[in-house]
């Protein structure tokens, strides 16, 4: 009989309704066995006393480059942007990630248990992303096809004097590649020998197996993404959505989810000019599904919590702030049957903190992933702050 691991709370933010003031989270075989206000503890269970602490589901960041740009290594560890061809759907984040990088250690010590790692935004079509626990356990590969509009691809390729060097070019390349893929699908029906390694991953995209994840800041880039994705019937997520607050109603109506962030960086590009901490509040008001992201390493993983804190000070409800750190991200990834809340049957990904995560001074006491204690705070040395 597998031993139980029981966390005795403390305030338990289940993300499945009102938090419990005191209660138990029961873990068995890597899954959550129960979440209950009262129970009789079996003699051989291991109990973690978190009565003066706060308990959350493991936090989720749906847009990172953890391990793809290694900490402390310079170009030898930089593997996120295959900036030699604006269309590279055939490259996969998983083949470039160093799962032993300090970035994962920082994530775990910050309470981030699942990350969705994607290629960068130098390319119009950058490659395949992977959703993984920060211990390296793969959840979904591929989790989506990374795409980018706006300044980045055109800046990278105009310096190489290649298409695209304007927003016109960005969109044209995207549409042309999608049409080439449709042609390839037709060709395959007639000729069994037809094979195109580069376009194969886009077949899965067009068949709806995984979404497009489209980097876009400016309002017009977001609408270009919407226009093109609708043309081809592809489901998609908008990454960053910096000017999304200007078109929140459209995003809500079209049910476009957004990976919002990184919100606490400087407006170093023109397309960031209208960034505001009010976006999250406006999304909540208008009903746009969003999750906070750090775009690690643009922000450290703990930047998630500062982003949420600042959004709350600008009017976002605390409840939505917490959702945008957990269950919303799980839903956007299509993994909410496994992660994102403390519910019986879901993975035992749990974080115990000494203060609420919306308190700027909070520290993670313990991180549990798939039922294993993977981090326990003992001294300043453990921190990646």
């Amino acid at each position: 009989m597998e031993k139980l691991l029981i966390i005795k709370g403390g305030k338990i933010f289940t993300m499945e309704g009102t938090p419990l003031e005191g209660g138990y989270v029961v873990i068995k075989n890597g899954k959550i066995e129960d979440v209950t206000p009262r129970m009789e503890i079996p003699k051989d269970a291991k109990v973690i006393d978190a009565t003066d602490s706060f308990i959350y589901p493991g936090f989720i960041d749906i847009h990172t480059h953890t391990g793809l740009w290694e900490e402390g290594v310079n170009i030898e560890g930089s593997d996120g942007n295959e900036a030699t061809d604006p269309v590279t759907p055939h490259v996969r984040a998983i083949d470039g990630i160093n799962f032993h990088d300090d970035g994962f250690k920082e994530a775990i010590s910050s309470g981030v248990t699942t990350v969705n790692i994607m290629p960068g935004s130098a390319n119009v079509i950058g490659g395949q992303g992977v959703a993984t626990k920060t211990t390296g356990e793969i959840l979904l590969n591929p989790s989506g096809i990374k795409m980018a509009l706006g300044e980045n691809p055109k800046r990278v390729y105009s310096s190489q004097k290649k298409l695209p060097s304007t927003r016109l070019g960005n969109a044209a390349i995207l549409r042309k590649t999608l049409i080439d893929t449709l042609n390839y699908i037709e060709k395959k029906k007639k000729d069994k020998k037809a094979f195109n390694f580069k376009l194969e991953p886009l077949v899965g995209l067009l068949e709806g197996k995984y979404p497009a994840r489209i980097h876009s800041h400016r309002e017009d880039d977001i609408l270009t993404a919407l226009r093109i994705m609708k043309e081809f019937g592809i489901k998609f997520v908008i990454e960053h959505s910096t000017e999304g607050h200007f078109i929140a109603e459209i995003l809500a109506k079209e049910q476009v989810p957004c990976a919002l962030g990184p919100t606490i960086t400087t407006r170093i590009k023109q397309e960031l000019k209208f960034r505001t901490p009010e976006t999250a509040r406006i999304y909540e008001e208008k009903g746009v599904l969003f999750a906070f992201t750090t775009d690690f390493p643009v922000l450290p993983h703990y930047g998630l919590f500062y982003s949420a804190q600042i959004a709350v000070r600008h009017g976002l409800s605390e409840e939505m702030a917490l959702k945008a750190l957990t269950i919303n991200g799980a839903k956007i990834l299509g993994l909410d049957h496994r992660i994102g809340s403390l519910k019986k049957g879901k993975d035992a990904d749990i974080v115990i903190t000494n203060k609420e995560v919306l308190d700027p001074r909070f520290l993670v006491r313990m991180t549990i992933i798939s039922g294993e204690i993977v981090y326990e705070h003992k001294s300043r040395e453990d921190l990646y702050i």
Binding site: E71, R267, I268, P300
Partner: protein
């Protein structure tokens, strides 16, 4: 005359905390802090708020690297020669940089605006206030220091161009060459005025300090060697490995400008760049100030960034000192700023709650007696 009725005042004079006092402000100066209610004046009701000294960011490129304009508009880095000590950030300061209003909203009264780090000697920097319409009415002290880069960024720039100096050896040789040249220039009785040499002389005469960007322990030790060799005042910037030589820094009384910390994606020479490594500095009594290095981290997050110090075990009042009193001392502004006391400038931040709590945010900022931000 303005009168602030403050619920709680953290003056940062030692661990002093005052409650329910009136701060009397006139001509931009704190005239008095008293329990007796003055009869005349414009009242500012901060009974429910906590008042602390406003913030100072000692290392930014505000006005030079304008937000929202894009890289092509930056004037922060004259990367055309390693020796440009006569450049002045004042001459390229754009007063409508979006970052300035954010600084005001974030409670940052003063910030240093400094040239970049491609050149070894990149120019003269100065202290600006976050209010005003032109560079000349925003500047408070110019120059406040000469910027020197003995770090990876400058080496790699010249190495990529195949030019001198592209190694640590080369950088130190260049520095010594130029200081000797400046000494010779000083001795000459009849000479043509040379702006570059004049800039170096200010440092050799100890009129201004030299602010040195360094990363690793050996670079820090070389910087200290320069201080001794030429008897100059130095301030270290970044200095990620400073915790490894905390005793030496304390002994030589060298301050450190540390940060920023809301960052990841460290390069090899930044492997030790973590806020937790400030704790040994705090323990040994080395004076350090936090910076955002705007635009690396937005300047208005200076206060939020200081919460990281609390996370790594530094007491809250010392975390606040690192963004007000300490930078004031480092920048020689201690007579006018850095604490709340009679005779100093009325540079105040109004917090909605105790520092670093969940509800706490900068809801007001008084700069030299003027409310530049009021959201209460």
């Amino acid at each position: 005359m303005k009168i602030i009725k403050a619920g709680k005042i953290i003056t940062l004079k030692g661990n002093e905390i005052l409650e329910n006092k009136y701060i009397v402000v006139e001509d931009g100066i704190i005239q008095d802090i008293t329990t007796s209610k003055p009869s005349v004046g414009e009242f500012i009701h901060a009974e429910k708020l906590v008042v602390i000294p406003s913030f100072i960011d000692p290392a930014t490129q505000i006005g030079l690297a304008e937000e929202g304009a894009g890289f092509n508009y930056y004037d922060s880095d004259e990367a055309t020669s390693p020796f440009l000590p006569h450049l002045r950030s004042l001459d390229a300061f754009y007063p409508k940089d979006l970052g300035i209003k954010d600084a005001a909203k974030g409670g940052v009264s003063y910030f240093v605006s400094s040239p970049g780090d491609s050149a070894v000697f990149s120019g003269l920097e100065g202290i600006f206030a976050s209010k005003g319409n032109t560079a000349d009415d925003m500047v408070r002290v110019f120059p406040s220091a000469l910027k020197l880069n003995m770090n990876y960024s400058s080496r790699i720039r010249w190495r990529s161009e195949g030019k001198y100096p592209s190694t640590k050896m080369g950088i130190l040789a260049l520095i010594r060459e130029k200081f000797e040249k400046a000494k010779n220039y000083e001795k000459k009785k009849e000479k043509e005025k040379d702006l570059e040499m004049e800039a170096l002389l200010k440092v050799l005469r100890k009129e201004i300090p030299i602010k040195i960007s360094v990363n690793t322990r050996d670079e820090i030790e070389k910087a200290i060697e320069l201080k001794r060799e030429y008897d100059i005042n130095i301030i270290l910037q970044e200095a990620e490995d400073s915790f490894q030589v905390a005793d030496l820094l304390k002994k030589e009384e060298i301050p450190v400008i540390a940060g920023p910390y809301f960052i990841a994606g460290r390069l090899y020479h930044q492997r030790n760049h973590y806020a937790k490594n400030l704790y040994p500095l705090y323990e040994k009594g080395v004076i350090f100030a936090l910076t955002t290095l705007h635009p690396v981290v937005p300047v208005h997050l200076l206060y939020h960034q200081s919460a990281l110090l609390v996370k790594v075990g530094i007491p809250e009042l010392d975390a606040l000192r690192s963004i007000s009193t300490n930078p004031a001392n480092i920048l020689s502004l201690e007579r006018e700023a850095g604490t709340i006391e009679k005779g100093k400038k009325a540079n105040l931040v109004f917090l909605s709650d105790e520092p670093f709590t969940k509800e706490s945010d900068v809801v007001g900022h008084m700069l030299e007696g003027e409310m530049v931000w009021k959201n209460f």
